[in-house]
Amino acid sequence: MELVFKNTTGLVSVPRHYCPGCTHGVIHRMVAEVIEELGVRESAVGISPVGCSVIAYNYFNCDMQQAAHGRAPALATGIKRVRPDLTVFTYQGDGDLASIGTAETVQAANRGEKVTVIFVNNAIYGMTGGQMAPTTMPGQVTTTSPAGRDVNHCGYPIRVVELLATLRTPAYLVRVSAHDEVHLVQAKQAIRKAFRYQLEGRCFSFVEVLSICPTNWGLSPAEASQWLANTMIPYYPLGEIKTPDDGPVTEAHHAQ
């Protein structure tokens, strides 16, 4: 019997510590599959964040570095600039990337670092026990917004992909979702494309993956997927927001 879906060698085969139903695991698998499919496992360096996926270094079957909270894009920059032959990716949560790591995210994108960022947006700080993230939905109850996120108190959720899309530096910016099987099929394509752009030396590539956190949302995995579909997707539209082919990159404004 041939295995038509078999576990990727891009992951180490150990049980993972994620909660039942948590889509971190699915996203790990897709990234690992792409790395394997593109044949770059032996040149890949991944960077794990601080967040539930902090020990992703135990799961990905490639060289890994563990970054300080929010700084993964800086590490990626450091690695890629001195070893452009390596395939460098970061794997980051929304607290990590969209809060403490805002500057590193925006600036790495703006410099056009030839790295791939996998951004797992679960609208919450998972690891530390469910505090509000910049991506938390209006009205969403968290341990630090016990009455629900009040947009008059701390603003609206940040749409990182749209934010980065205003930068003129070419980039591949896409948002996908991991909440169900159909969206996973699309997500996989986006991740593949993101790594391809890196391998071609074209641009910075960034995949935002909407993800569920049943534990801190206080929902079953199925309910959590529903909530993501009903609440998050309307606010976080899916699709390619920017590709490096967008618009002519004219050199009109060169100075002096």
């Binding site: 510590h17 909660c19 539930c52 690891m127 534990t215």
Partner: protein, 188 residues
């Protein structure tokens, strides 16, 4: 020292709450108390536990290499803590989920079917009350009234749940009392 106990189980089995109620009861009865949880990511999926110390003097360390008593709600907890009980100490095992037992002969082992007791009154969710009851019944460190008052504070808003917890607590108490008596005979 009146009491030094570790409650251990899966996250979700309510061991933290059981410990907190015990500590509260100790405080209400005028003792010094400390409740110390395990915390952080290790709680996720793994075992959660808390230590409770009740004493008549200021409490030094709430961390014990060898606790006087341990209540284990699941198998991994038995594996982790069973061997640490102080000689002459007490080990309460939730026999509903743990087939294994301890082969130690230097401690008192009491098996209480916590989930079954609670299920019998309506829901296995109250298994932690059986465990708490068993520990208190065996040690008499606090009175049943103190504990009940706190159970009422916790579940008072929902009469059905309160009733379930009361009954489970009482049955656990009895099981603890009887179990220890039996164990004492064994050990002599």
């Amino acid at each position: 020292m009146l009491s030094e106990v570790t409650f251990a189980g899966f996250g979700g089995q309510g061991v933290m709450l059981a410990g907190k109620i015990l500590a509260h009861a100790g405080l209400d009865e005028g003792h010094e108390v400390v409740w110390l949880p395990s915390y952080g990511p290790e709680m996720r999926g793994g075992t959660a536990y808390c230590n409770v110390v009740i004493s008549d003097k200021p409490i030094g360390s709430p961390i014990f290499a060898a606790p006087a008593a341990v209540v284990v709600m699941n198998r991994p907890s038995l594996d982790k803590f069973g061997s640490r009980v102080k000689p002459g100490g007490l080990l309460i095992i939730n026999s509903s989920l743990i087939d294994a037992t301890s082969d130690r002969t230097d401690i008192h082992v009491v098996r209480v079917p916590c989930n079954e007791i609670a299920q019998g009154f309506g829901s296995a969710k109250a298994a932690n009350m059986a465990a708490l009851g068993a520990y208190c019944g065996a040690t008499k460190v606090v009175t049943v009234d103190s504990v009940k008052a706190l159970v009422k504070e916790t579940f008072g808003a929902k009469p059905k749940v309160l009733d379930l917890n009361y009954k489970t607590l009482e049955r656990g108490w009895q099981a603890g009392e009887e179990g220890l008596a039996a164990a004492k005979k064994k050990i002599k």
